[in-house]
Symmetry: D3
Subunit: 123 residues, 6 copies
């Protein structure tokens, strides 16, 4: 299996349709970047055996909430968190905890992103 194939499988497992949408959206502007996105993050990193995928999503949701510059990607990974078995309650806990490290605005904006994702899941 190539890095690309392994990455595509991982991307589908974790991000589902949202991952495919991102890849599609890159086709006209930067098709090679879609490949890198599949190969490095998913083919290389998420495929590594040393950390379970649930913990990987905990890490990503925490980091994107704290950074505060990547709302679209945070939403994708909140949905991914649900896909890999995190409960809504756990996701809310991760985001609330970021108030300690990145301030209340970062946590607030993360919580509002989570609400959007949760509502879309229920619709």
């Amino acid at each position: 299996m190539t890095r690309y194939e392994r990455g595509l499988e991982k991307l589908n497992e974790i991000d589902g349709q949202a991952g495919t949408n991102v890849v599609e959206s890159l086709k006209d502007i930067a098709p090679d970047f879609a490949e890198y996105l599949i190969e490095f993050p998913f083919g290389d990193i998420y495929s590594r055996p040393g950390l379970d995928v649930r913990s990987r999503e905990v890490a990503t949701i925490a980091a994107l909430t704290a950074m505060g510059t990547a709302t679209p990607q945070l939403k994708v990974h909140i949905a991914a968190g649900l896909n890999v078995g995190l409960s809504k309650e756990e996701i809310v806990e991760i985001i609330m905890q970021m108030a300690v490290y990145a301030g209340f605005p970062a946590a607030l904006n993360g919580l509002f992103a989570a609400r959007e994702v949760f509502e879309a899941e229920e619709a």
Copy 2:
């Protein structure tokens, strides 16, 4: 049990001596801030039942690595991660994954911080 007592217990459980050192170091400049640090992050947030403490440390290590502005605190939480049952391998995986979300320099600087903590643990 007051928030302060609950927080102090949690701080000791998670951060051990490093937590006590931070609190001590605040005594002359901002003693009230030492109290807030015990009460809100540890008495309120880390004491919540909705997320296991291992996942809380995954989140914190990820966020502090990604932010790149809090090396002393990252080191405290790498040690805390070991305290609550994360393996060195898992901590390295979390930090490497941050290359995807915050860039290679953030991951590199996180890995160098981890090496320092691991070496100090072994000494």
Copy 3:
């Protein structure tokens, strides 16, 4: 008076309706976070006697402008600044000054946020 009561009083004094709106908006996704928001920032920090509330809003408007990741919260605090006695001119000065420390885009985006708040106040 509990921390919660003191915080709620302070939140109403400073943020007025905008504060209540944020608290309301958290009710369905993270009601405990609404409590923390009232208790720690407003019940603990803003209630401290060592710095006047006008200077506290100068600090918050400056920080949120410089960070550039918290536009909704910046707008709440621009309105709060007016509530606690800062003039529009003073708020514009604070934001312009951030060009020096965080760059022209941070200041520009802060000024556009201020214009929105000023226009809403006049409507």
Copy 4:
């Protein structure tokens, strides 16, 4: 030629209509800031002989993509890049490269900004 005149000339050369729009948009909220924006960035910095204007736009597009807090200004400078002779392909390369230094979300959001600017240019 005053700093203001030199800056205005440079702003028109580099940013074209988008620059004028930013200056206009400041007139009601902070007219002096429009002057500073013309004088320091364009009258002082971009007018310096030590670096060609094409390289200056490479630097600005890279920095604004990496920072991730200045999307409106990034779009202005993607258009400016085209004005001073960068090809669309080169701009896409600069933005993709930022995945290495600031993470994939920063690069993705930069690419989506570029697509918007490129589409507007073609319309």
Copy 5:
């Protein structure tokens, strides 16, 4: 009075020896940047009448603490805050407040910077 002269006067008034040191330190690497530093931040911004210099230092200390990427400059402005009449207590309050907006690590690192400056003042 030229912008340069006005800026130099303001820099001396606010930053004292620390300001002169920064300007000196730029002489061999980027002498023109020393001029810009005197002219734009101090000759243009800090010289404006619309906000008192005490409030300007509140804003700067808050922003630099929150950003977490400018420790040397934060120290200069903590000393400047003392120069323009802020008490140590007020400076500590500003920095502690940043825990709310930028997280506890930003506030902690700011407090440790303040302690260094206060100790140097006393020595």
Copy 6:
């Protein structure tokens, strides 16, 4: 030629000894990360034909200066800039320009990093 081989060649061309040092320093803590560092940034991105390597270093120096969280990596790329043909004057211009986009402290800290690299080159 594999991605690894192509990346190693590129790393040596651009970063010289400093690149080898970073790779070496990862051997004990995260050897796989050294591979990724060679493969993705250098084997994939820097090897792409769409942008000359000189412009790539302009972009990287600008971004790392603006971010302000990656001083060790900024120094490596200032040296890399000299390796690929940027003059000291051009590097100073790139860094000074960042005052406009990320503030004066980011530019100052970048200039001090450049001075260190220039002095080491001369030694």
